[in-house]
């Protein structure tokens, strides 16, 4: 036989093998996914994964369904896409009774926000109307997009900043008895179209400052458009969004807007932000996830910020950033950052980012690498809010991600038209009138959520279906809290045009836990920015009190650590925002410690 025909046969077989490779890869992935379990079964989930989540909203007195806004009629053809945000959730103990309460936003004109007071008996009761923070979406004032809580006047009670497409609002908490609107006295601008804000004390003066990230430009009134040219001018390089604000707390109930003065100057389309001391400098850095572009990382020297997205590696590849969550996923005392993006089979595979500090880099020279794929948390559909938390108390931080953009007709997709317009020149994409009508079609709708369990060895495994998270609403915000003071993290999820979900957690009792409730003295009283480094069984995990994280969300300020079995606690080191360091020994698992900053 001649050499060439033999070679041709071999190469042809090789070629067929190449064409079959994707199918083999899919089969391998499906086998792995099935191994984690595909249907909810409490006993199997407890035995296999050590926890189970049960949706209990209705039975605990919560029947809230989010309503979307109705914007200017010129946007009618693409209304579901434009009016696609506003569902948010934040956890706060507004009355200092030691039980977490839940605040959720609504977004239809005239709709009412809810403050669910924890009744200590397993149920919640809406008290927003009685306390004056329900009727905040009146026509002409814009509608709610989110809320973050922080004690800006250090009186011991958490105050409310309401993020809006419209008139931003600051409400003073009157000792848990009611709220007083203080927006005008505080010096807030008349209109911001924002989706993210975060409380943090950037200059360490003991007073909480406030960052607000604009999405649409602030001169756009989405109910009375002067022009339809208000869309992003690029799908991944847009710089025509809203401005950024940093409100410096003057301590007398007033705030001074200092963003330009301290080096924050961007018109990217911010969707999520959070602050944490990423470099161990004692100053909180600010991470912003932008839609239609790169993320920004503002490094803080205590007085000024400098943007280091490209320098650190997190701000080079443009995607559609929608989440910022920090977590010490390796128990190594360093925060990874999770940024969610878009992945849709056959259309757009951006992949979410898990930014992990590169080994050997720190301080000003810190660099990040994206390990989302390696660790298995890359593909999450049209991803929105995510939070790190130890859901099964095994001692490592897990990751809860919600997703889904617009769920309308199950059988009709808008993706083709979306890509058609999104790839075009800025003069076309930037004008809403050029966008094809959605006509009731879905855009990445009805997506399965992801609950990724950290195996402690560098991999996350999705167990959502097996542990009871089976909803397919258009998820936006996720917040974690030990709602019933049981030593487990429960999950609250806000869905766009959907119900508020409360997933009650049941955890295998052999896994231990410990919690900390911190209160500042010299530092801000909310202790936002305070970091606890807990050491047990020869490992140390750090967590910090956050003034807002994820997407339009805020976790409970109390810090929850899972410890696994047979925990040998060594102690905790608390680094307060004031710079003080406090060591706490003789800790016992299964308790919540209330710790005040030493005077």
């Amino acid at each position: 036989m001649k050499q060439v025909p033999v070679a041709r046969i071999i190469v042809s077989i090789f070629f067929v093998g190449l064409l079959m490779t994707p199918a083999a890869m899919r089969w391998r992935s499906a086998t792995r996914a099935n191994a984690a379990g595909t249907s909810p079964d409490r006993q199997a989930a407890m035995a296999r994964h050590g926890f189970y989540l049960e949706e209990v909203a209705h039975s605990v007195g919560i029947d809230f369904v989010h309503e979307a806004p109705t914007l200017d009629a010129k946007l009618l053809p693409i209304m579901p896409e434009v009016a696609s945000m506003g569902a948010s959730v934040s956890i706060v103990d507004f009355d200092r009774d030691g039980w977490p309460d839940i605040y959720v936003t609504n977004s239809a004109e005239g709709s009412r926000n809810r403050l669910y007071r924890n009744m200590h008996d397993g149920t919640f009761k809406d008290v927003a109307g009685d306390l004056g923070i329900a009727d905040v979406n009146q026509a002409g004032t814009g509608v709610s997009m989110g809320a973050v809580w922080g004690d800006y006047d250090n009186d011991g009670y958490e105050d409310l900043f309401l993020i809006k497409w419209g008139r931003p609002e600051l409400f003073h908490n009157d000792h848990g008895q009611g709220f007083t609107r203080v927006s005008d006295q505080a010096g807030l601008p008349p209109w911001i179209n924002a989706n993210t804000a975060v409380w943090f004390d950037y200059d360490g003066d003991g007073l909480l400052d406030l960052f607000v990230g604009g999405y649409y430009p602030e001169d756009v009134d989405l109910w009375h458009l002067k022009s339809t040219r208000m869309m992003p001018d690029s799908f991944e390089y847009a710089k025509n969004g809203g401005r950024k604000y940093l409100f410096h707390n003057l301590g007398n109930g007033r705030f001074d807007e200092v963003s330009a003065k301290v080096g924050i100057d961007s018109r990217r389309w911010a969707l999520a932000s959070s602050a944490a001391d990423l470099r161990g400098t004692g100053h909180p850095d600010l991470f912003i996830a932008n839609d239609y572009g790169v993320s920004e990382l503002y490094l803080n020297d205590g007085k000024k910020f400098h943007e280091a997205g490209q320098q650190t590696g997190v701000g080079f590849a443009p995607k559609s950033g929608m989440n910022v969550a920090f977590g010490d996923i390796f128990n190594l005392g360093r925060y990874a950052v999770y940024v969610s993006n878009i992945s849709e089979n056959g259309a757009l595979i951006q992949g979410n980012n898990l930014w992990v500090p590169k080994e050997g880099t720190q301080g000003e020279a810190i660099k990040y690498e994206n390990l989302a794929r390696d660790m298995g948390v890359e593909l999450g559909g049209w991803s929105f809010g995510a939070q790190f938390g130890d859901l099964n108390n095994d001692g490592t931080l897990d990751l809860y991600l919600t997703n889904g953009y617009v769920s309308l007709d199950r059988n009709k997709s808008y993706w083709y038209d979306f890509t058609k317009i999104a790839g075009g020149n800025s003069s076309i994409i930037g004008d809403a009138k050029d966008w094809p009508a959605m006509d009731g079609r879905s855009l990445s709708g009805y997506q399965q959520k992801h609950v990724w369990l950290n195996d402690g060895a560098g991999k996350f495994v999705d167990v959502a279906q097996a542990i009871g998270v089976t909803d397919t609403y258009d998820g936006r915000a996720v917040a974690l809290a030990d709602l019933w003071n049981r030593g487990v993290l429960d999950v609250v999820v806000a869905n766009q045009r959907g119900p508020l979900l409360v997933y009650k957690n049941t955890v295998a009792p052999e896994n231990e836990w410990i919690e900390f409730e911190l209160e500042g003295n010299k530092s801000n009283r909310s202790a936002i920015g305070a970091q606890v480094a807990l050491t047990w069984n020869d490992q140390t995990q750090i967590q910090q009190v956050s003034g807002g994280s994820g997407f339009s969300a805020q976790n409970d300020r109390r810090l929850h650590f899972g410890l696994g079995r047979n925990a040998r606690l060594k102690g905790a080191v608390i680094r307060w925002p004031s710079g003080k360091t406090q060591t706490v020994d003789s800790l016992v698992a299964g308790k919540m410690y209330k710790i005040e900053e030493p005077k």
């Binding site: 041709r8 190469v11 064409l19 994707p22 595979i349 038209d417 999104a422 075009g424 020149n425 094809p436």
Partner: protein
């Protein structure tokens, strides 16, 4: 013209050895141009998923070409074609994973040696490789569709560089026919779908579409030899693309070329064989087919 076959079929001009020192080998011009586009696009807009993935695609294509070329032709092949296949895969394919870049380059290069008829390969290699990935691995890959900047500068750079290359190779008429057809048919599509006309025009204003226009539809392997035939094929690509678009196919242009290219080649081969059987001389007007 497809970069890979452009590199193969560029007319060889006899020049003195002195001049050769001063001018580049024509086979190196297309690779240099596409490299320039890559660098301009990446340094300006960060179009690449990562340097590593693009390098992986290029290396895979080059190694595959070396091995297969050596096995089938018993000589070391010129690597300009494989280099451009690899770089095309690196630009056009989008995946967070590494393996699709390896697989796509392997499929593209191997298709040249497997899917042949009468000594000609039927598909543009990178078009085949990318379409195969989109058909078979849509859960893992997408193409450069909306990720590149919507900025006018990127578009102008590609138009300029592409025009230079195409004009030099006397194939600008293919691009002109395709663009004209696309614009005309966009009016028809807007009328049928009821969508704004600019939304139908929108795709062609994106820089990635210029890669398709200048570096794929002009491929001599996927078009025919006569100038009129090439223009007809370009028009047919636009028509089939419209049908795919009416079916809401995101990758309509790539799929259109995938089907029209081989059909046009087969029809031309059939016509040539008929003429040869009838004793009618066949006139090849432009680039000759590589043996």
């Amino acid at each position: 013209m497809s970069p890979e076959t452009m590199a193969q079929s560029t007319p060889q001009i006899k020049i003195s050895s002195k001049k050769r020192w001063l001018s580049l080998d024509n086979r190196f011009v297309p690779p240099l141009f596409i490299t320039l586009i890559l660098l301009v696009g990446h340094l300006s807009f960060g179009i690449l998923e990562s340097y590593q993935k693009t390098l992986l695609a290029i290396m895979t294509a080059v190694v595959a070409e070396l091995i297969l070329g050596r096995v089938f032709t018993h000589q070391w092949p010129h690597l300009a074609s494989a280099y451009i296949t690899g770089i095309s895969v690196g630009i056009l394919l989008r995946s967070p994973a590494f393996w699709p870049y390896v697989l796509c380059s392997l499929i593209a290069i191997t298709s040249k040696y497997v899917l042949r008829l009468n000594g000609r390969h039927l598909w543009n290699p990178s078009n085949f490789g990318i379409c195969a990935m989109l058909f078979l691995a849509s859960d893992a890959v997408a193409t450069l569709s909306i990720q590149w900047g919507n900025n006018l500068w990127a578009m102008l750079v590609i138009w300029l560089l592409g025009s230079v290359i195409i004009w030099r190779l006397r194939r600008f008429h293919i691009c002109a026919v395709y663009v004209g057809s696309f614009l005309l048919l966009s009016v028809l599509r807007a009328w049928i779908t009821g969508d704004p006309w600019l939304s139908e025009v929108s795709p062609i204003t994106g820089p990635e579409y210029q890669l398709f226009i200048f570096f794929m539809i002009t491929d001599p392997k996927t078009t025919v030899k006569s100038k009129m035939g090439q223009s007809i094929v370009a028009f047919c690509v636009a028509v089939v693309e419209m049908l795919f678009r009416l079916d809401q196919s995101i990758y309509a242009p790539l799929y259109a070329l995938f089907w029209v290219g081989p059909c046009a080649t087969l029809i031309e081969m059939w016509i040539v064989s008929r003429r040869s059987a009838n004793g009618t001389p066949t006139k090849l007007t432009t680039n000759t087919v590589r043996p």
